[in-house]
Symmetry: C2
Subunit: 153 residues, 2 copies
C-alpha cells in the first residue's frame, strides 16, 4: 500500500449547492454493491440469469430483484435468446453502456490504490493491447487537473 | 428521458477473468450509498461531523460508522482544526482525491441520463467556466471508444 498523504487543500472547489447531484443520482441506481457488477457482467456478455448467478455468487432472490430493478430503470433489456424462444438474455442499453467511463475510472483507481500484491484487472486498447487511461479535458481537449476544476452542485 | 436503445453487441470485450476486479474492489469501499457522498463532501470542504450530518441528512450513528471505516481504509484523515484543538475536521487523502474521475464520470452520466427536467450538477474548468468531459485515451493520447476496448478481468 502507498503511504497516505493528505490531499492539497481546495483540491475541488464547490461553487453552489442547489442543483441535483449527479453522484447521488447515480448512486441511487447502483449504490447497492450488486447493480454495477451486474451491469459490468452484462456489458461483457455474461447475460443469462444462471451465468450471472454463478459468476457473482449471489442469491437467486437478490439477483431477481436487482435484475427487475435494472430492467425497469432502463439499464437492461430482457430479450429472447432467439425469436420465439422462452429463454432470454439481458442486453445492455445505451444508458448502461454510458456507465463505461465510471467502470473504467474504478478499475484505474484500483490499479493505483488497491493492494499492490494483487494482480488487478485492466482496460486496454484492443488494437495495441496497451492500457487506456481516463483523462478529464476541457472543450479544447486540454487536460484539466482536479485543482483546476469547479463543481457546480 | 431518452428513448432506450439497445447497445451494440460486443461493446466491451472480455479477455480473461482471473485478475482481481477493480470495480468489485472499489465497490467494497463505497458500495453502500453513503461513503462516496461523504468523500464528495469532504473533497468539497464539508469536512466537520455536524456539517456532514446536516448536509447528508444521515443518522449520527451511521455517519460515525462510515467515517471510522473511511478513516481506517485510508480515505480520510482526522485532524485537529487547529494545533491542540479538540475539534477536528476530516481531510481527504491522495487515495480519496484519486476518486475524482469516478465522481466526475458519475456527474457526466447523470447529465445525459438523469431526468432531463431537473437541473444537474456539473464540473467545469475553473478558468473558462466551461464543462469538462471524461475522455478515455490510449498511450498516445488518442481517444478510444468503448467498442475499441478490452477488459482484462
Amino acid at each position: 500500500m502507498r503511504k497516505l498523504v493528505m490531499a492539497e487543500k481546495d483540491s475541488l472547489q464547490l461553487v453552489t449547492h442547489h442543483n441535483h447531484c449527479g453522484i447521488a443520482e447515480a448512486l441511487q441506481f447502483f449504490g447497492d454493491r450488486w447493480s454495477l457488477l451486474i451491469i459490468r457482467n452484462v456489458l461483457m456478455g455474461i447475460d443469462r440469469f444462471d451465468a450471472l448467478q454463478e459468476d457473482l455468487q449471489i442469491s437467486r432472490n437478490i439477483l431477481t430483484k436487482r435484475l427487475n430493478a435494472l430492467e425497469s430503470d432502463g439499464f437492461l433489456l430482457k430479450t429472447p435468446v432467439k425469436e420465439g424462444s422462452k429463454r432470454h438474455r439481458y442486453a445492455p442499453t445505451e444508458k448502461s453502456l454510458a456507465l463505461a467511463p465510471v467502470l473504467i475510472a474504478m478499475i484505474e483507481w484500483s490499479q493505483h490504490w488497491g493492494d499492490t500484491s494483487k494482480s488487478w484487472s485492466s482496460v486496454v486498447d484492443a488494437k495495441t493491447g496497451q492500457a487506456v487511461k481516463t483523462k478529464i479535458v476541457n472543450q479544447d481537449g486540454e487536460e484539466v487537473t482536479t485543482s483546476q476544476m469547479k463543481i457546480n452542485l
